[in-house]
């Protein structure tokens, strides 16, 4: 409160000052009360504790894909064939809607790990099973609004704005990953 220099001259600024201080205290008080209530709506500790998932890769044959749950969402784990890898790498990066090299999206060439949520409006694209529609580029196809993803999970055609997200994960051994 710097504007109370003239408080001594008459009563009105003094009253203004008191009103402002009272109001400021009330505002801080309301904020302090609101904070724990809003925080209580954020993910609880047990929810956060479930935020990593271990996946055993050994049973997944080449060309096969599995879907695992991570934070309530599907994660695609795909053991790519040499042909699929080569297709993904043959595309000139700057021709893509969301430019990214295949190398930047994998840690080991054959293993592609993706969050299986279409970046358009959150549907789960098809393409995990060999019999599924995989779209024009052999990766995934989102049936909701027709987005086509390639064998690197990059958006190639349709309304989705971004490539399928790559979750944070690490190889805990040659045949095991921990997502999250």
């Amino acid at each position: 409160m710097t504007d109370n220099g003239h408080a001594a001259t008459d009563g009105a600024p003094r009253r203004d000052f008191l009103m402002l201080v009272t109001g400021a205290f009330a505002a801080v008080g309301v904020g302090a009360i609101a904070w724990p209530f809003i925080a209580s709506l954020q993910p609880a500790k047990d929810t956060l504790a479930l935020a990593s998932t271990d996946v055993e890769l050994a049973p997944i044959a080449e060309g096969q894909a599995i879907t695992v749950m991570w934070r309530g969402k599907p994660v695609f784990v795909r053991n790519r064939t040499a042909k699929e890898i080569q297709e993904a790498r043959a595309v000139p990066t700057n021709s893509l809607p969301d430019p990214a090299t295949d190398q930047s999206r994998v840690q080991k060439d054959q293993w592609l790990i993706l969050v299986g949520i279409c970046t358009h409006l959150g549907c789960v694209p098809t393409g995990q099973r060999a019999t599924d529609a995989r779209g024009d580029y052999g990766g995934w196809f989102c049936p909701c609004h027709g987005s086509h993803y390639d064998t690197s999970g990059r958006i190639r055609k349709g309304p989705a704005p971004r490539n399928l997200d790559v979750p944070q994960y690490a190889f805990t051994s040659d045949t095991k990953i921990r997502i999250g």
Partner: protein
């Protein structure tokens, strides 16, 4: 001014636009701004506002708790423990809600005590008083059902004992009890309906509080002298005088509340309720929450099942007819030298019942409970009706302003602004 619009006195164009079409600002200004309020309130008159604030705290914390609570016998206890351990600030919100129930009863008991001491139930405020008793009964039902939700041992056995009270009624007793249970014992259907009703009733309370306040704003507030304001010199506008006084009380109240929540959150609870409900084992010493103890003591003081239940319900229902039991025209007990002593004795009896309700029902405790119960009812049914005939009240002051200021009615032009009605 177009036809059909309210003639608003507000200058702010947005406020004015709304007020012309729906005069809520005019109404708030009339009911909480200029509302003429007796100028001699003491701090006992804070407790209505405190109760209102507590109701809002309970509804707010309750809504947030219900987002994490699971109303199922196999999940309820664990979901409450999850709130305490895992949900961000869940411990705080639950402790506020838990202790808020106790604070609510403390505040409302003082509010009722004030109404009884200063004769706030007397004409023309009988309906206002009766609506208050309805609120209190709804509060009791809500608090009881809320206590069942954590599904601990006290929850379960409290629910069992209280619902079994209704089995005392002849013919319809068992029907009522099965209706409450939705089965043949307190079980999952009971928990589900209690959760549903526990969520519903606070909003019903809110509605009755609205009626309570609406009735209050017709008759105006009583005051420590119990005499009606005779004009503007006896009143002050509600704002800023009583908004400020209520705020002071509110700050003190929050300090007490916070001490309980942060330093003794389980002081008023029972450790047994942190043991999951077990329908096969009753805890050795079961007692209700402290605010029900006086009625529990009355229940146990009577050696007959139906008689005990009737007396227990009667101990609160008798409040409904209090305006007609106390026929003395003098409201405030400041001017009733005998009633004042008998009433303070009644208050002591109430506290004795509260104390004895937590003791085992044996030996001297039963005798004490019986004496206190007898006086509890004698005060209402015998002493008050007789006092109206035999008591000689002290002379009442001529007016509030004369009593407050000592001298004659002063001009008081400075404090009392012109008001719409006196």
């Amino acid at each position: 001014m177009s036809i059909g619009l309210h003639n608003s006195e507000f200058k702010n164009p947005v406020v004015r636009w709304i007020d012309q079409r729906m005069p809520v600002f005019t109404m708030m200004q009339k009911e909480y701004g200029t509302f003429p309020t007796p100028k001699n309130f003491n701090y006992f008159w804070n407790f209505g506002a405190l109760a209102m604030v507590t109701l809002m705290i309970m509804i707010a914390t309750g809504i947030f708790l219900s987002m994490h609570y699971a109303a199922h016998t196999s999940l309820a206890f664990d979901s409450v423990e999850r709130i305490m351990r895992d949900v961000n600030f869940g411990w705080l919100i639950r402790y506020i809600h838990m202790n808020g129930a106790s604070m609510f009863f403390i505040v409302v008991y003082i509010h009722i005590f004030r109404g009884m001491y200063y004769g706030s139930y007397k004409a023309p405020r009988e309906l206002l008083w009766m609506l208050g008793v309805v609120i209190f009964l709804l509060m009791m039902a809500t608090a009881f059902m809320g206590y069942v939700l954590p599904w601990g041992q006290m929850s379960f056995w409290g629910a069992t004992v209280i619902t079994n009270l209704f089995s005392a009624f002849p013919v319809v007793g068992n029907f009522i009890v099965e209706l409450l249970w939705g089965g043949f014992s307190v079980d999952n259907p009971t928990l589900n309906r209690f959760f549903s009703l526990h969520y519903l009733l606070p909003f019903v309370i809110f509605g009755v509080v609205f009626l309570h306040v609406a009735a209050l704003h017709i008759t105006g507030s009583n005051n420590p002298l119990g005499i009606e304001p005779k004009g503007p010199q006896d009143t002050l506008p509600f704002h800023p005088y009583y908004t400020a006084k209520d705020s002071v009380g509110l700050v003190v109240y929050f300090i007490v509340f916070a001490v309980l929540v942060f330093f003794a959150p389980n002081y008023l609870g029972h450790p047994d309720n942190y043991i999951p409900a077990n329908p096969l084992v009753t805890p050795p010493h079961i007692v209700p929450e402290w605010y029900f103890l006086p009625y529990y003591a009355i229940l146990r003081a009577v050696p007959d099942k139906l008689g005990g239940v009737l007396l227990m319900f009667g101990s609160i229902l008798v409040w409904f007819v209090l305006p007609w039991l106390d026929r003395s025209p003098v409201r405030s007990m400041r001017f009733r030298p005998l009633a004042r002593i008998f009433f303070l004795l009644w208050t002591v009896c109430f506290l004795v019942l509260l104390w004895v309700g937590a003791k085992p029902a044996e030996g001297t405790y039963v005798l004490i409970a019986r004496i206190a119960t007898a006086y509890y009812f004698a005060y209402f049914l015998v002493i008050l009706p007789m006092l109206a005939k035999f008591e000689r009240p002290l002379p009442l002051p001529e007016s509030i302003s004369r009593a407050v200021l000592g001298g004659g009615p002063l001009p008081m032009g400075a404090a009392a602004k012109p008001m719409e009605k006196a």
